[in-house]
């Protein structure tokens, strides 16, 4: 009876988990500014969760450094299915200027398929919000496919 209500509630409250894998902090600042009153992503139901076990959407920023690689794999394994991986900025997509460094271990799609990528270095908060809205649509599709 309440299943439909719960389903609708889940669709309108996607929780984010922000994972920094060696980012320069530019994308992180822009992501935090998305939840400030000026842009207010909580209108769409986004909330930054403190634990990956509570999250639906994982936002990865930064090229994957060798120190953070194992943590990335462990964190991604803790997120319950269905999950959506969002790459924030140029770095997780292609390592950007860090490409070829001895301490950078490849783009993010080596380890997990990227569902949505937001380009920009760093992207504007508006672009991040547009990307997250797209991520929620994918999350809905994935939930339906799981049934």
């Amino acid at each position: 009876m309440f299943e439909k209500l719960i389903e609708k509630g889940l669709e309108k409250s996607a929780w984010l988990y922000h994972l920094n894998t060696g980012s320069c902090n530019g994308c992180d600042i822009e992501l935090v500014s998305v939840i400030t009153p000026r842009y207010d992503a909580e209108r769409f139901g986004f909330k930054i969760a403190g634990s990956p076990r509570h999250a639906d959407i994982i936002v990865v920023s930064g090229p994957i450094t060798s120190q953070s690689r194992d943590r990335l794999i462990r964190t991604l394994a803790q997120v319950p299915d269905p999950k959506v991986v969002v790459s924030l900025g140029s770095c997780p997509r292609s390592c950007n200027v860090f490409n070829g460094s001895y301490c950078v271990e490849g783009p993010l799609d080596k380890y997990t398929p990227i569902d949505v990528s937001i380009a920009g270095c760093p992207p504007k908060p508006e672009a991040i919000m547009a990307g997250l809205v797209r991520a929620v649509e994918i999350l809905k599709e994935k939930r339906r496919a799981m049934k």
């Binding site: 009153p37 140029s90 569902d115 380009a119 508006e126 672009a127 994918i138």
Partner: protein, 151 residues
């Protein structure tokens, strides 16, 4: 009795919210914003300066030989770009421009590519002088030399 911030509280009761109504009203980026790259292939002369100055190596060039000359394709990968504008500054023909478009959402890598193709005509071949009558071996060597020159 004095209420602190009473004036401020009454003022904000009747004022507009400070939140931007984003998906309905999309604001234009400020003057000088460096967004998605626009490439004008008809202006490009294939000097390759943009590739030299690009720090992340986001620009790749492929050259194909066709009948009219060289078919040159420039590819700008927005997923690797730093938006530093060096390619625009160094472009002598102003063939690269960083536009104000900033929303670049992609599910596929292909959506982040900006491509431009143009054909660079080969210079006209110099007229070939008639071959001197000589021994066949020497003739062959000369023919080869001429071929190398014309290429």
């Amino acid at each position: 009795m004095k209420f602190p911030y009473l004036k401020e509280a009454v003022k904000s009761l009747f004022s507009k919210p400070s939140t931007e109504n984003f998906p309905k009203e999309v604001k234009e980026a400020p003057e000088g914003y460096r967004g998605k790259i626009a490439f004008y292939p008809e202006k490009c002369v294939n000097c390759g300066m943009c590739i030299r100055v690009c720090a992340p190596g986001a620009i790749t060039r492929t050259i194909e030989k066709v009948e009219e000359g060289d078919k040159i394709t420039f590819q700008f990968y927005m997923g690797q770009c730093t938006f530093c504008q060096l390619c625009q500054d160094f472009c002598a023909r102003k063939a690269i421009e960083l536009t104000k478009e900033y929303i670049m959402i992609a599910e596929d890598e292909e959506d982040l590519m900006v491509r431009g193709t143009f054909i660079k005509k080969a210079p006209p071949k110099p007229p070939v002088p008639p071959a001197k009558p000589a021994t066949p071996a020497a003739n062959n060597v000369e023919a080869k030399k001429e071929e190398a020159k014309s290429e």
